[in-house]
Symmetry: C2
Subunit: 160 residues, 2 copies
């Protein structure tokens, strides 16, 4: 719960390479994610090359902060499995939460031109770019965002 409470979407980063051991822990957190029928129909492309990050920032509709992070982690699902979006998402959120534990910051990136991202990273046509994460050393500490109340989000026994 501490980690969940501390998590923020971080959009400003120190320009710094990611510590390799920290990165390994993030990837291990993803690897241990549950997956429908344990199929694990996903791959992660970890982009640390500066010129690729710049290209990705353009493909992510000009969100220039993407260039400044240490790594962009691109979650790629295999659409031949029904649960590929859910399974890829779970793995990415494990990274988000483990990052908090390690003092790293992340931001989910949903706005991107999928075919551009595929072209830049050589992702096959038949795969799906589910979402991207920026990862790096936070250079901001934003306050929590307002969230809906439990009453708005939860109902008991019957949908309301």
């Amino acid at each position: 719960m501490d980690v969940i409470r501390k998590r923020r979407s971080i959009r400003r980063y120190e320009r710094k390479e990611i510590d390799r051991e920290a990165l390994n822990r993030l990837l291990e957190a993803a690897r241990l994610a549950p997956s429908a029928k344990n199929i694990q129909p996903w791959k992660l492309v970890v982009v640390i090359d500066d010129s690729l990050k710049r290209e990705l920032a353009r493909a992510c509709l000009g969100q220039t902060f993407i260039r400044e992070c240490s790594a962009v982690i691109v979650g790629v699902g295999d659409p031949s499995y029904k649960w590929h979006i859910v399974d890829t998402t779970i793995a990415l959120e494990h990274i988000v939460l483990e990052a908090v534990e390690l003092g790293l910051g992340t931001c989910w990136i949903g706005a991107f031109n999928e075919s551009e991202v595929k072209r830049i990273l050589g992702i096959p046509e038949d795969k799906k770019v589910v979402a991207c994460l920026t990862v790096g050393y936070p250079a901001e500490s934003p306050p929590p965002r307002p969230k809906k109340s439990i009453e708005e989000l939860v109902c008991f026994n019957r949908y309301k």
Copy 2:
């Protein structure tokens, strides 16, 4: 990372009502989940009524263990928002991880007849049942499932 490592899919439960304070913590963990543009396009239906749980077990293609859990949490997304599946999934996985911290067990349920689940719980036609979770007090401690290696799951800079 401890929580991520300890997590298992639990399919046997003690027959016991869920502690209301624990349930509140699970729901709070979901509430704090990140969401594209902070829209939070989801609702959770928490099913604790025994006869509704029995009906749900049938709608979940006869997975009878669903009757034995303390609560079924049904994640409902609003398809008018592009990221409703991802956002609902993140919220549900926060519940899964917080449950580990509280000594509770969960299991993602992907196999269900969506229109039956909607009928049973009064979920509107235009909403999407993203997935369900069983939640309860574990009556089994399964070993970890085999996972793909980092080499199979991760590549650097270019898709391989």
